[in-house]
């Protein structure tokens, strides 16, 4: 149990996927101009990441590895994730329209979201077992959601703040992110 908690805390805060590992920055900048949007995107990513993790783990250990096909990892994973996103979109549209309206529109952006693919590769590199992989994927995607929400909150205030002309637009966002990241470095001591 304690190793799961350790994995969770490390992936959620200490090695936060956006602030500490720079993964999924495109959507971090692109989708945080509105708090609602950032939460929708964060939840959609969480949903797909956990599913992708649950699907790619067995594929790797039961199909690719026993047949010596590890080199197809990148190709298979990206195709599986793309297909998965399509399926989820179809399913939500037909069966759960309310959920579809909440996060369906973000799904097409997710195929090329680095976070999901990074999680599926990391769980293999870190030799996680199935349960550890799932915990890891939940933690990473919640970390993603947290970072998105933090920047979206700051951006609301930035809209009405006097910003030096040369820092306007994106540079100030990265500067803000740098400061948030400094704060996150403080989490490093959370696990021994």
């Amino acid at each position: 149990m304690s190793d799961l908690i350790k994995i969770f805390v490390a992936a959620f805060l200490i090695n936060n996927i956006i602030l500490m590992r720079f993964i999924a920055l495109c959507s971090y900048i692109g989708m945080t101009s509105d708090v609602g949007q950032s939460v929708g995107m964060g939840l959609a990513v969480t949903f797909v990441t956990v599913m992708a993790s649950a699907v790619t783990w067995p594929i790797y250990y039961w199909i690719l590895k026993p047949n010596g096909l590890e080199f197809l990892e990148i190709l298979v994973f990206i195709v599986v994730i793309a297909a998965l996103v399509q399926l989820v979109e179809f399913y939500l549209k037909k069966s759960v329209p309310t959920l579809y309206h909440a996060m369906g529109i973000y799904l097409p952006l997710i195929t090329t979201n680095c976070a999901i693919l990074a999680v599926t590769f990391d769980q293999i590199t870190n030799n996680y077992n199935f349960v550890q992989s799932i915990v890891f994927s939940v933690a990473v995607s919640l970390g993603y959601l947290l970072a998105m929400l933090l920047l979206a909150g700051v951006r609301q205030r930035l809209k009405n703040s006097p910003i030096p002309a040369f820092m306007m637009d994106t540079p100030i966002l990265f500067l803000t992110t740098s400061l948030i990241a400094v704060a996150f470095m403080g989490f490093a001591g959370l696990i021994k």
Partner: protein
């Protein structure tokens, strides 16, 4: 010839993927702790970009519109794997230090974006030149970031000690927050320059089609 040169400069500066269109950001900060990594990543991405653009441009008439996305993904993933394997075989040290960012090239928005917007419609020569321009445009920004971070953060350049031994390295710049800071400053400088060059003319709003929703709220990508 002039046209090709225009395409090349477009990627290198005018529509620089990192500073102007702002796509493919992830790897740009993660690997730029040393100049060697920056160059390695730049070359790796350029290779995948040029090869994917070449192949897709060659076969652009044989790719049905409705299934173009899966085909693009397969082509890009194949070249990423090739690059990954070659790196492991011939540049093991670089490959190790870049870790997960090598396979992540497959979802680098620069590649998907250029393939979709450019080479699926343009002739082969233009596509290759576009790939080179965009790839090098990406590479020089990585080098610019890495030079600052490695020189000030570690006192070295390409692993050689440059700063006098009395210089205390600013480790902060190598750490993640430092990456964001250096990028923010470089970007501010680049924007400032662009604003001065385009004085009077309002710059075209460049919209990346990879990570943001369209105005009407529908997603760009299928």
């Amino acid at each position: 010839m002039k046209r090709l040169f225009g395409v090349f400069v477009n990627g290198l500066i005018v529509e620089n993927p990192l500073f102007v269109i702002m796509i493919g950001l992830c790897s740009s900060m993660a690997v730029t702790t040393t100049v060697a990594n920056g160059i390695g990543m730049g070359v790796a991405l350029t290779f995948v970009l040029v090869m994917s653009e070449l192949i897709i441009s060659l076969f652009r008439n044989l790719i049905p519109e409705s299934i173009r996305m899966p085909i693009f993904l397969i082509v890009i993933a194949a070249f990423t794997t090739i690059m990954d394997l070659e790196m492991k075989a011939y540049f093991p040290v670089l490959s190790k230090s870049m870790g997960v960012f090598i396979p992540l090239v497959v979802v680098n928005c620069i590649i998907m974006g250029r393939v979709e917007a450019f080479s699926s419609k343009q002739p082969v020569a233009d596509s290759v030149v576009d790939g080179l321009g965009m790839g090098l445009g990406y590479t020089w920004v990585l080098i610019a970031l890495a030079v600052v971070r490695e020189l000030l953060g570690n006192g070295t350049l390409l692993g050689r000690q440059i700063m006098p031994s009395s210089f205390a390295p600013m480790i902060f710049l190598i750490l993640p927050p430092g990456g964001f800071l250096v990028f923010a400053l470089w970007m501010a400088a680049s924007n400032d320059l662009r604003r001065k060059l385009l004085a009077g003319k309002k710059p075209e709003p460049t919209q990346d089609n990879c990570c943001t929703l369209r105005e009407n709220g529908s997603a760009e990508k299928a």
